[in-house]
Symmetry: C2
Subunit: 156 residues, 2 copies
């Protein structure tokens, strides 16, 4: 299965970037995985929050094909335990589509992106910086793979 994580904006902190690389390498032991970093929307003058969301969403939509399965990482999404998240991923695997997770910018997604997505997953009721959320997601994806393979990493 091919899995992709789309994020908006580069990772600012070197420390977070190296954690991202570490988990990406671990995940690649299990599946074909890439992180696609979309450029921050340039804000000449004052874009409103709505305009910035729309510009980001346009860019996101350009990076999704019709046949892809799209999962937004979104505070309004369903919360899973790590075990149930691994089951969610396992079920998607069976569908055979490319699986794309998306972490939006600081202001979230436009309606267009919400409508396009098949699923919304929330990693926590809490709000994390859109930098930290990348590490959290990658650790969960890695953990999910170890759960699916029945490996030692995860304790109940």
């Amino acid at each position: 299965m091919k899995v992709e994580l789309i994020v908006v904006g580069k990772t600012d902190l070197k420390t977070i970037e190296s954690l991202n690389i570490m988990y990406t390498e671990r995940i690649r032991h299990y599946l074909s995985f890439d992180i696609k970093v979309l450029p921050d929307v340039k804000t000449p003058g004052n874009l409103t929050v709505e305009q910035q969301k729309n510009a980001e969403s346009l860019l996101i939509m350009k990076n999704i094909r019709e046949q892809d399965c799209v999962v937004l990482l979104d505070e309004k999404g369903s919360e899973y335990s790590s075990v149930n998240f691994s089951k969610f991923i396992e079920s998607r695997t069976l569908e055979g589509k490319k699986l794309i997770f998306i972490i939006g910018g600081p202001f979230g997604f436009s309606e267009t992106v919400y409508k396009r997505a098949q699923y919304k997953v929330s990693l926590s009721k809490m709000t994390f910086s859109h930098q930290i959320i990348r590490v959290i997601f990658l650790e969960q994806l890695y953990r999910a793979m170890t759960i699916i393979r029945n490996e030692k990493y995860h304790h109940e």
Copy 2:
């Protein structure tokens, strides 16, 4: 207010350690804050999970005073949004006690520690490595302070 985070075992990853330091420095702009790292319990021969939990708990109990307010970071705890977590912290401030958050080892806490604690907080339904959970907690504590002070960091 004095706030302390007690963790069991050193942070293995340098990258996580530097994130911890970064957030600790940010948090110290707002309050007196320290991380206390308790040594991993040495496991000569084969300690059972229960024995390891008990040994860790003994050590934790030695680092709590009777008058402290103890909050376990625990999967069985209550989940808060970031805003509600900031309200939780603000309420504790008013009580004037030293506030101690505790992240246990990989197998969780013994009954003794559960009984001693006033509160249990869960950062997510998901399970994170007990290294990553430190960064997550620190970012939330920092975020909580910016919410209490009505600063720019947190978007709704």
